[in-house]
Symmetry: C2
Subunit: 139 residues, 2 copies
């Protein structure tokens, strides 16, 4: 599979409401829920970087309902990068196939919240990690 095809970007449907909007994110059209293992939240502080991770098997579904987060993907074969910034003012769903290095940085000054759905239970043997400096990128 080509590098860029490993990351899908979908829109979030926003239902406007004067008392507070509603955001349709994950549903049966974009996730096979019967393979879903967990829904969890990660916060990342302003200017903090969490990198790098590589999932051997796990597929991830992410969205950023609060704040702003930059995601960077790295392909070992082509040594190419792909980056995308999403957040409450640009709500998107990212679908990340396995076998891709990625990391992310908090860009919102207050709170940056990532909501993730994963199709495999967290398992240390399934995740590879590198230190930030091991893949050189101008964050």
């Amino acid at each position: 599979m080509k590098f860029r095809k490993k990351i899908k970007v979908l829109n979030v449907k926003i239902i406007k409401n004067t008392k507070g909007d509603i955001f349709k994110t994950f549903n049966k059209k974009n996730i096979i829920f019967k393979n879903l293992q967990e829904v969890y939240f990660s916060s990342v502080k302003f200017n903090s970087i969490k990198a790098w991770k590589f999932h051997k098997k796990m597929q991830l579904f992410l969205t950023v309902p609060v704040g702003k987060v930059k995601f960077v993907f790295f392909d070992q074969l082509t040594t190419k990068f792909y980056s995308i910034t999403i957040g409450e003012k640009k709500q998107k769903i990212l679908i990340i196939k396995p076998k891709i290095w990625f990391g992310f940085k908090g860009l919102g000054k207050r709170k940056n919240l990532i909501v993730s759905c994963s199709t495999l239970k967290h398992n240390k043997s399934e995740i590879l990690r590198k230190k930030i400096k091991e893949i050189k990128y101008k964050w």
Copy 2:
């Protein structure tokens, strides 16, 4: 089923991290994911009240990762109320069985975000609604 037994309150597991904490919320222990239909986000502004709703069949799983939200439940049979306030400083998961009236109010001054998992697709015939004033409660 007794009124109070229709609402379950579970803890969120927090994994501390200097770059931003991780919150374990919904997993196979508390949701049968194969019945899951969607994961969606609702925001509710400071001092806004969204009430009242009643689900005939749908079971809801809620959490408030950002801000603070007061939930109020009303039992028609006993005319009793039960309320609970959860939010980023008191992270809990609420499991709400069907056939209970409920509403909620935004208490956080900035952003109040509810993340919900539902076991049935949104369907107007499954939801009953009342205006705020139809069930008298001192919010």
